[in-house]
């Protein structure tokens, strides 16, 4: 377990920045204390400093998880955001998309979102911006990357892809073993 290096910090915050913009500051300085990022076996954890202090007691080999896992670094040094980070970034999300129940099912199986399944889309979404996907009950069910800006979406036909799938809560069932 160690703090992130500058490059790693840049990679992680760059990814998070796509979803929540300048709110990254809010993510670190919270009301209930300071939170920080730690890396352990290529996994990046987001953790309160209070918890971090006691978690240091556990030997590195036996420590599997602490706080919230944000994602992992691939062997090539890229950072992948995982669905476990959803609960932390969803409250600060800038771009949101709401899905119809039929499309919700498809998205939970890991498919991209088509225009036909979109119920609502927030304004001023740019192309390739990170976007949080909600169902009709306002529950976040995953995130992805906008394939089209809001303007382009208005004129698109129902079969065009609006959001590229990145992660969804269905992964808790589909790949429980590989999550961590």
């Amino acid at each position: 377990m160690r703090p992130l290096t500058d490059d790693e910090t840049k990679a992680v915050l760059g990814k998070v920045d796509k979803f929540i913009g300048s709110s990254v500051k809010l993510l670190v300085d919270r009301e209930d204390g300071t939170y920080c990022f730690r890396i352990q076996k290529d996994r990046v954890f987001y953790i309160s400093e209070k918890v971090l202090k006691v978690a240091c007691n556990v030997p590195r080999a036996q420590l599997l998880m602490m706080g919230v896992c944000f994602g992992k670094f691939t062997k090539t040094g890229k950072f992948r955001l995982q669905v476990t980070a959803l609960d932390q970034i969803a409250p600060y999300a800038k771009a949101k998309i709401w899905l119809k129940p039929s499309a919700e099912q498809q998205f939970l199986y890991g498919h991209n979102v088509l225009k036909g399944g979109v119920s609502r889309l927030s304004e001023n979404v740019e192309k390739y911006q990170g976007i949080i996907v909600y169902n009709m009950n306002d529950v976040p069910i995953g995130f992805g990357v906008a394939a089209k800006s809001t303007q382009e979406c208005r004129n698109a036909d129902p079969m065009t892809i609006v959001v590229f799938h990145q992660a969804d809560v269905g992964e808790y069932l589909r790949c429980e073993d590989s999550l961590l």
Binding site: S48, N57, V58, M65, G67, V68, C69, L108, G170, Y172
Partner: protein, 575 residues
Amino acid sequence: MGRKAKYDEKQKKGKGRKSRVQPAPQLPKQLKAKEDAKKLSRNQVKRLKKRQLKSSSKTDQAKQKRSPEEANSIDDREDGAQSSDDASGMDFENDSPRKGFTDENDSWLKPKQTSKRALFDDDADDDGVMDDDFDEDSRDPGSEASLEDEGTMRIEKQSKKILERRREDKELEEDELRDQADEQQKQKFSDYFRLPSESELENEKEVPLSVQAVHQRIKDILHVLADFSKRKEASRCRQDYVRQLILDLCSYYSYNAFLMERLFYLFSPTELSEYLEANQVPRPLTIRTNTLKTRRRELAQALLNRGVNLDPIGEWSKVGLVIYNSQVPIGATPEYLSGHYMLQGAASMLPVMALDPKENEKILDLCAAPGGKTSHIGALMKNTGVLFANDSQPDRCKAVIANLHRLGVTNAVVSTMDGRKFTKVMTGFDRVLVDAPCSGSGVVSKDEHVKTSKDEKDILRCSHLQKELLLAAIDCVDSNSSAGFVVYSTCSVLPEENECVIDYALKHRHVEIVDSSLKFGREGLPRYREHRFNPNMNLARRFYPHTHNMEGFFVCKLKKLANGNANNDGKGGEK
């Protein structure tokens, strides 16, 4: 976590629509019994009365011609005919419209009734026989008055004969009844059930009895054991019965002899059969609301909209819901995936309720997988303080991690190490939960494998490990903290894994049993076979499938009084 189980809609009970019983066939009018025929109209009744009046006046005229004695008897007869509808054999002398049979059968053969006579008597024929008996008795003095008359003499003889025959019949009947009653009495108390002899048992080994026969024998032995001194066979002792009962229960419910014997020590014979029967059916599926993300009412509404039939679990829990049936898989709804609830047995909520975690505390779950109880603790702590979850198996820890993330617990630290060595990593916790690995004798309905796979060694091994884990857990707790509680729970019902382990901890550490604030459940056993436990053991709680409709479970809450060992009074032994 049970999400690979089949939660398809349960099969409907009952026979179904197609097997509905057909109503009794409607008989056509002409086939119906005469009694059911239409009532006579008012005019018809009048006419009938007139007709009878006429006929009676006719007989009156005939009476004038006869002797007064005879007329007397005829009057009697007519009265009798009104109360009873039998034309007995004595009618054959008179000129009445109904004639009896005149051959030797006249004593018992009776002429057929006409429908109109039903007007005067609605009684069934069977009652008529008894009435007849009575009438003849009453008629006797009347006919005695006319002893000289030959006709009456014959009648009298016949009636006497009939009376005698009836009396004999009655006596025979009574004898028979008495015999039957005696036999029943005997059956009830002595010869009712006979244990199989050794040779019969030998035969049984080659040609096994049918399941029904074994079941019947179990019932019989249970009946004998319920009132043993009265119902036993004279030459057999209680142990013979018990041995046979255990054998039969083993074969009927397919347990191994060891586990059955242990269960027999624990339960009375009748309760044992209830327990085994309850283990044959699965417990209801229950879920726990994740209060970090939603409320029970909202969750129930959301699930109802998905076609799930559910109810609150009971008075004792504010987060539990019981699922009756569901059109969607409960372990894969969008609500489940976004962490609004957790599939969890009803009994698994009890240890956490006993632990009663508070905010801003340091809490340890020593044997966490698969994370149901851990996430429950996390929900009660509302993501404040620190929650440690440990499990010895790294594979099982993956489930803990996934569940904690899914349910939104952010203050958890998951480690995989031997729970017995956790004291080396960290101590000073406020509360510790030990949900120790056990033989699983309380969750037979979930895992049939338990029935046959356990033996003496397994229990000893479990018990030993549990003792070590409990001592480690007690060592992890800081006695100076405001809380300082340890909750020990297992999903086993055997006292070797429960009360014995607690007793061991009481002897080796400065702890005492405290009330677990669980409002229901059986009390812990104060004694078991040769063991005599702490009198406070009644504060521990036991849960059984047949009494509480949840898995067999044991929960005990301990309060740490002082640090250090109890017997050598080393570092912090002062009490």
